[in-house]
């Protein structure tokens, strides 16, 4: 019980952090919008995403996933910052649950993601984004992105606790996130890639999630439900591995 209330306090603290530090706010609002606008207008002409789907309808689920992953990097960066500033030491000297600091961080980042997803959907709507499978299906899609980001936050948390230096964590973040974002169906159909890359692109989690969200918002994706189930499996699997790993690293902080 007290662990949950501890976590709630840390969530509150981190939400304030995410919204009060100007550069973090810009990062979670203006930057994703710029990505959305750039990719829509730069690639929109070139990529006719197959059938009757307009590029913005194709792109937005991808941008949501991209934002989720870029946002996840910040989980590790934030932890490394707190570690260096002594905030973590203060919290560790208090009689609180060991997982509260980590869960408080990943959950606060989920709050930020809900904010960003809402923002992107509103901006996307002005660019012509529409969902065609009903409100509930759309909300499920958004929720899937939130959970996906939450799972990746735990990976990032482990990276943050291992590398400890905020800038190193940032750079390392791009190393593991960029291939996942770009070698996927986020921006272009996987079928346009060389066959060796397709093997990776088709089977990695980002493609699964993006396809699932396309199915949930646009329909017309063959075997759509399969993508949803595989995405959920990835999410559960990642959390099952990385959450305990993060708590273990946290306990061993020197």
């Amino acid at each position: 019980m007290s662990g949950i209330s501890n976590t709630a306090q840390i969530v509150k603290r981190n939400v304030k952090r995410n919204f009060r530090i100007p550069q973090l706010l810009v990062f979670s609002s203006i930057q994703p919008i710029i990505f959305l606008l750039l990719f829509n207008f730069v690639f929109g002409g070139a990529v006719t995403a197959g059938t009757n789907v307009t590029y913005i309808n194709y792109l937005l689920p991808g941008i949501l996933a991209q934002t989720a992953l870029f946002g996840a990097i910040q989980t590790g960066v934030g932890l490394a910052e707190d570690l260096n500033k002594g905030v973590i030491d203060r919290l560790r000297s208090l009689p609180i649950a060991r997982y509260a600091v980590l869960a408080g961080r990943t959950l606060a980042d989920s709050v930020r993601n809900i904010f960003v997803i809402t923002l992107l959907c509103v901006v996307g709507a002005t660019l012509g984004f529409r969902f065609h499978e009903g409100v509930i299906s759309f909300l499920l899609g958004a929720l899937l992105i939130v959970f996906f980001a939450f799972a990746f936050s735990w990976i990032s948390g482990v990276v943050g606790l291992l590398l400890k230096d905020p800038e190193t964590v940032q750079v390392a973040g791009f190393l593991w996130v960029f291939p996942l974002v770009f070698a996927s169906s986020v921006f272009v159909p996987v079928a346009t890639m060389p066959s060796w890359l397709q093997v990776f692109a088709r089977n990695q989690p980002v493609t699964q999630v993006v396809n699932a969200v396309r199915y949930l918002t646009q329909g017309g994706v063959p075997n759509g439900m399969t993508y949803v189930w595989i995405s959920l499996l990835w999410i559960v699997g990642i959390i099952a591995v990385f959450a305990p790993l993060a708590v273990w690293r946290y306990r061993k902080i020197q």
């Binding site: 306090q9 509150k12 603290r13 952090r17 002594g86 203060r90 560790r92 208090l94 009689p95 020197q254």
Partner: protein
């Protein structure tokens, strides 16, 4: 004996890889008193604080704080201690009030209780007016006071202050000293680290000096000064005369003088202060060495510190 000691550290060893940060360190802190931990940068002060506050687990040794085994029952120990100073930090983006309320809530206080406690501490620390400003607008002294406040939320019996006044101006330092003295008057046991000997002299009932991970000397401020036993003759000469003066003093007093080339000061111990002072003055005059300053003084804690700590650059903590 240990009944009166709120902190009992016995034979603690802490290593980081091959580097031994704490090498068989023992310490006792008497209940309701201020115990000082002095030492140069990298001596192991912060590491020892972290061991005593459950942040680091030692390889060997035992640590008891307020009767609780810190190494084996860290959760229980955390309920009894407060930590402030360079090992802990306050968030720049939270207000002073938010910081204290959050800490109170983390200790399991109800919202109302945490708020009341925050108000009380803000008042006590003179931060009421700044309470609703983000701490990034605070001065260094205000931030230290808030940091101290955060460590006091749960009214700990044992308080650890890691260099609580480092980097503060003299007036703010004195304010913090007053707060610390108030706490002692209320019966709190305090262990503080400092690089300021003057601070240890003013605040601490008992002092430990640590260097390169080893305890090298302990005692009251008076004990430590007395341990040097003798008065000190100090001279300041021109750069070009340092070596000559050194030789002369050695011959005259039968001991190696301590030389600080940076300040061009040489010091030497004496048993018969005034006589030796005259002797030195005469012989300097004879050798035509121009003495810029010449003094005889009781040892200060600085002298103790310089005498017992190694002046070669220590490893970084």
């Amino acid at each position: 004996m240990s009944k009166n000691n709120s902190i009992v550290v016995k034979s603690v060893v802490k290593k980081f890889g091959k580097f031994t940060a704490l090498d068989d360190v023992s310490l006792l802190a008497q209940s309701g008193k201020v115990t000082g931990l002095l030492g140069p940068n990298g001596a192991g002060k912060s590491t020892l604080i972290k061991v005593m506050t459950t942040l680091l687990v030692p390889e060997h040794g035992t640590v008891m704080v307020d009767g609780v085994d810190v190494v084996h029952k860290p959760a229980l120990a955390r309920e009894r201690i407060g930590l402030a100073g360079q090992s802990a930090a306050v968030d720049a983006f939270l207000t002073g009030r938010e910081t204290l309320v959050m800490v109170g809530r983390l200790y399991g206080m109800k919202a109302k209780v945490a708020k009341a406690r925050a108000d009380e501490l803000l008042e006590k620390l003179g931060l009421t007016e700044a309470a609703d400003r983000q701490t990034k607008t605070y001065s260094g002294g205000m931030r230290r006071r808030l940091d101290l406040g955060a460590s006091l939320v749960a009214t700990p019996k044992v308080l650890f202050l890691d260099e609580p006044t480092t980097g503060l101006d003299p007036r703010t330092r004195l304010q913090l000293w007053d707060i610390i003295r108030d706490l002692v008057a209320q019966g709190v046991t305090i262990l503080l680290t400092t690089q300021y000997l003057e601070e240890a002299d003013a605040l601490c009932d008992y002092i430990y000096v640590i260097d390169k991970g080893k305890m090298i000397i302990e005692g009251t401020s008076e004990d430590l000064k007395g341990s040097l036993g003798q008065d000190i003759i100090e001279l300041k000469v021109a750069d070009s005369h340092i070596v000559a003066t050194q030789k002369l003093l050695k011959k005259l007093m039968n001991q190696d003088p301590k030389v600080d080339t940076a300040t061009r000061r040489l010091s030497i111990h004496t048993k018969s202060g005034a006589d030796d002072l005259l002797k030195v003055a005469e012989s300097m005059k004879k050798s035509k060495i121009n003495v810029e300053e010449l003094s005889l003084h009781r040892p200060t804690l600085d002298d103790v510190f310089l005498a017992v700590t190694d002046d070669t650059e220590g490893a970084k903590s």
